[in-house]
């Protein structure tokens, strides 16, 4: 990982010194274990803040929305796919960006790690040999990195950036033999009553902080439908129907756009598996339209294009 960090700093310094960009958006070391903080660097002398490791799960495309500067942005596979989506949706111009592509080694999941140990975690480090060492008061445990990946990373098939101006390293091998939708098939196989119960349970801890929405690069509406007050579409209290309405509608707004970057789930302070909705829509888009979001700048997304041979049978 140190090579990645060094290379990112080197590129950032060059871009800022040459004046190619006004700022570089990347990550700096966090103050908590398994956390890094997105940051922006404007001066060459500040590039040493930038780091890269397995705690860079936040999607940096979220920080590009409607910016006017020339920006160097550090992008792993999913970030790059959301950058593509941003460009397609006119939230940023390709010419404004210098994309520093990072072949991604997958991110680790703070909740999964917390669930595997007893007691507070004070330090988490990674070895070159692919081990994750977790330390806390009175314990030290070692895990294979593969055991503690974020769920979306474990099933990711686009670890390399799909668009970039330069890369910090050679591409990594993409996973091919992955069953991306095993959990979604289980939900699909449920009876209506079971499915209702499943979703009731899924959202019961929601506190409506909207961290899932705000961490999502797709959620850039100037006023979200839950914040609209004239007319007011959704109640603001803790009513379960209002909570569900928020989650369901938010997910639908991401249909055909979601890259399964996992930012929503990572951001949730109460550990809701927000991806259970977006993944179903992603699966449908794959099956119905053979579409994966953010792969190419050339193709229009299925839900903003009309084709006479539309396969939807339910429209009669």
């Amino acid at each position: 990982m140190q090579e990645y960090t060094d290379k990112i700093r080197q590129i950032a310094r060059r871009l800022l010194e040459e004046g190619t960009v006004d700022m570089v958006i990347g990550f700096r070391k966090g103050s908590m274990p398994i956390m890094n903080e997105p940051c922006m660097v404007r001066r060459p002398q500040d590039v040493d803040q930038l780091v890269w490791d397995s705690n860079c799960g936040i999607n940096l495309a979220n920080y590009l929305t409607d910016r006017k500067e020339k920006i160097g942005v550090v992008a792993k596979g999913c970030d790059s796919r959301n950058i593509v989506t941003h460009i397609i949706e006119n939230k940023i111009d390709r010419d404004q960006l210098h994309i520093i592509g990072v072949p991604c080694g997958a991110m680790i999941d703070k909740r999964k790690i917390a669930s595997l140990v007893e007691g507070e975690i004070t330090d988490v480090t990674e070895t070159e040999a692919g081990k994750v060492i977790v330390k806390g008061e009175g314990f030290e445990k070692s895990f294979d990195k593969a055991e503690v990946l974020q769920e979306n990373c474990a099933i990711c098939i686009h670890r390399n950036p799909v668009v970039h101006d330069e890369m910090v390293a050679e591409p990594v091998e993409e996973q091919t033999d992955v069953d991306r939708y095993a959990d979604i098939r289980e939900i699909e196989a449920m009876s209506d009553a079971e499915r209702k119960a499943f979703f009731d349970d899924l959202y019961k801890e929601c506190i409506r902080c909207y961290a899932c929405r705000n961490a999502c690069p797709l959620c850039y509406c100037p006023t979200c439908f839950v914040d609209e007050s004239r007319p007011q579409w959704v109640g603001k209290g803790q009513n379960e129907n209002d909570i569900r309405t928020f989650h369901f509608l938010r997910a639908y707004h991401c249909a055909g756009r979601c890259t399964d970057c996992g930012a929503c789930e990572r951001a949730c302070p109460v550990g809701i598996k927000v991806r259970m909705l977006t993944k179903k829509l992603e699966k449908d888009c794959k099956e119905l339209f053979d579409w994966e979001a953010g792969i190419s700048l050339e193709n229009r997304p299925p839900l903003d294009a009309y084709r006479p041979n539309d396969p939807d049978e339910f429209i009669k």
């Binding site: 997105p38 940051c39 920080y63």
Partner: protein
């Protein structure tokens, strides 16, 4: 001040007895984390916890609370009149609350109980509540209560303070309310005060020695507000913020709310819900103007409120008890300890050479 000893058997019996006269709230394990919940039936507080995921503020100040009910049906005599709904007036007991969280209610009280304005909903609930604290033997590495006006065995805001002792607890009864509660629970086995003070003192000293993080707040009051407001670091601090409400909803001292009417047909309720200064809607005027329309101004507001405006207004410390929840749960790792340090260290005079970009 008296001390009583509570063994395991008495503990279980006492909690059951309390349920007959109080609505009892306590920490309950849900999944990986603990939360404060109203204990039902034979549910016992699960005391093997560091701190709860959300603060216990909801026991006094629910996330959604009905203030009034109304009807717009003109055939009814009381149409268009706001009426207070019937509430469960049974006194509350919050058992096992950490000292930092109990202290937070005193800070919130400064806002809800002023000479000019008294918030009847909050005050009634607060006055009807007895707080049974639980000393903190193992503070988290991200806790900093000792430098935020509280401490792991701090008694401020508590009616009773429990500490682990032998196979049960030793209770320090601090107020009349606390005395009434311990008597109701049948926790009356007196314990020698001298010996008890020693146990409490030693435990507090041990726990305080474990703190790894602290903040400095000594200069906050002296730096002019406008200098801090205009400080160059806000853009950097706010950059990563996604403006979610996690920090404000988890915080024991965040008190802001939003009032909403909800109706079905002619019958409706006026409710208030927690609100968050992180949301742009929070300050949006009816005219469409928004005085805090961008992210930087919202982030600055949160920290300035807690660490500067509150300090200046009440002259009694910061509006933060150091529970560390926002530090642990912020999705992008914004750390109030770092921000506080930057604010406290800030020297407006040294800003001739500006650290921010010239663009």
């Amino acid at each position: 001040m008296t001390f009583v000893k509570i063994d395991q058997k008495k503990w279980a019996e006492g909690v059951s007895a309390l349920k007959k006269g109080y609505q009892v709230f306590g920490p309950v394990k849900e999944g990986k984390d603990h939360e404060f919940r109203k204990l039902s039936g034979d549910q016992m507080p699960e005391m093997d916890y560091g701190n709860t995921r959300l603060s216990p503020k909801a026991a006094i100040y629910p996330q959604s609370e009905v203030m009034f009910t109304y009807t717009t049906d003109e055939r009814k005599d009381d149409h268009h009149i706001l009426k207070e709904p019937e509430r469960d007036e049974t006194p509350k007991a919050v058992i096992g609350i950490r000292p930092c969280d109990a202290f937070s209610f005193l800070l919130v009280k400064k806002n809800f109980d002023t000479p000019e304005y008294k918030d009847p909903f909050w005050l009634r609930a607060y006055d009807a509540t007895t707080f049974v604290g639980y000393g903190c033997d193992d503070p988290c590495s991200s806790c900093f209560c000792t430098s935020a006006g509280s401490g792991p065995f701090d008694e401020k805001g508590l009616d009773v303070l429990l500490v682990d002792h032998e196979d049960g607890y030793l209770a320090k009864v601090l107020t009349e309310k606390g005395k009434a509660l311990t008597e109701k629970a049948g926790w009356t086995q007196a314990f020698d005060a001298g010996q008890a003070e020693k146990v409490f003192g030693e435990k507090a000293a041990t726990a305080e020695g474990k703190f790894e993080s602290q903040i400095s707040t000594d200069r906050l009051a002296d730096i002019p507000s406008m200098d801090l407001y205009d400080a160059p670091f806000w853009e950097d601090i706010a950059f990563s913020c996604i403006n979610c409400g996690t920090c404000t909803y988890l915080c024991p001292t965040c008190w802001c709310f939003d009032i909403q009417d909800e109706c079905r047909g002619c019958d409706g309720v006026r409710m208030r819900n927690w609100d968050s200064c992180m949301s742009s809607l929070f300050t949006l005027h009816g005219s469409g103007h928004n005085p805090r329309g961008d992210k930087v101004s919202r982030v600055r507001q949160r920290f300035m409120h807690k660490l500067k405006y509150y300090v200046d207004k009440y002259g009694d410390g910061i509006q933060c008890v150091g529970c560390g929840r926002c530090v642990r749960k912020c999705p992008v790792n914004i750390d109030i300890r770092k921000v506080c340090e930057m604010m406290n260290q800030y020297d407006p005079e040294a800003q001739n050479e500006c650290a921010c970009p010239t663009t």
